[in-house]
Symmetry: C2
Subunit: 168 residues, 2 copies
């Protein structure tokens, strides 16, 4: 199920790319420089828009890599323009596309850690459920909320993307 | 895995209860009527805070019920005060506590529909991954973001809650 749920992260990053495109069109229609999106934030002590996008990307990338026992590619977090942010999103979508279901066969019991945990560890199952997935949704939803707060026209369908539905 | 992931929704609703408590303390410290939280929103065409809380509750409740083939209890969506919203959250936490792993054995292949889909259906697996879980995180994260935007002191630890970590 990790493969499918990480596939959902990949799908949602594809939606994020569309939100970034909509943000660019909004800036053109309102005649402002779209680079201002990068520093918009909902609270002074929350991350700004560019960082929310970067963190959504990094969370998906690191969840996939850690659960598969691989080393994720590094990103410098220097993106400011919408085009740069879209390229960042696309690079992670491409990276997630390199995984197969077999990569996650040992995911649930893998021992996961990261520098800020000071030696503490989580099982892959706990890390995915309690940390990775909630963090991914936290950052991608904040990116969405910042754009909505700024006036960009987006709705729940843009958030969810196309659903796998069967006709009656 | 559905049981565990729905358990994570239960855990996060427990965190939402703490955010509501923090919102109440913030209102006392700033000397305003906490009922004003109910109508705060990030964009004029987004749901207000009370509705975000109600929808987070309803999404978790309906995901669990639908995947288990049960009928969820109805809620009237009349909550306005923080105490009423906390009671709503608690009622869903209690409801989610009535499920066991065995309830979700047939979840992946169950046929799911809802009135607004006009007869279209999804498998339980697709519904959970593409619709239920993203919607749950959408609404609970918007509830969090609205409180942060209003000035309530919350951080990522309040969002995630305690992690199942092993000491080095």
């Amino acid at each position: 199920m990790y493969f499918e749920l990480i596939g959902q992260m990949k799908k949602m990053l594809g939606q994020l790319d569309k939100w970034l495109e909509a943000a660019g069109a909004f800036a053109v229609s309102k005649k402002f420089d779209p680079v201002v999106f990068a520093t918009l934030r909902l609270a002074p002590d929350q991350f700004a828009f560019a960082r929310q996008v970067q963190n959504a990307c990094d969370t998906a990338k690191l969840v996939a890599a850690r659960l598969a026992g691989k080393t994720a590619p590094a990103h410098a977090d220097t993106e400011q323009t919408l085009d740069e942010l879209r390229a960042r999103v696309q690079s992670v979508v491409t990276y997630l596309g390199t995984f197969s279901a077999a990569d996650f066969e040992a995911a649930a019991t893998r021992v996961i850690t990261q520098p800020r945990w000071e030696g503490k560890t989580m099982t892959g199952a706990d890390y995915f459920r309690e940390h990775g997935q909630p963090n991914f949704f936290f950052h991608i939803t904040h990116a969405y909320a910042i754009l909505r707060h700024a006036g960009v026209t987006l709705g729940k369908r843009d958030y969810l993307g196309a659903l796998t539905q069967k006709l009656p």
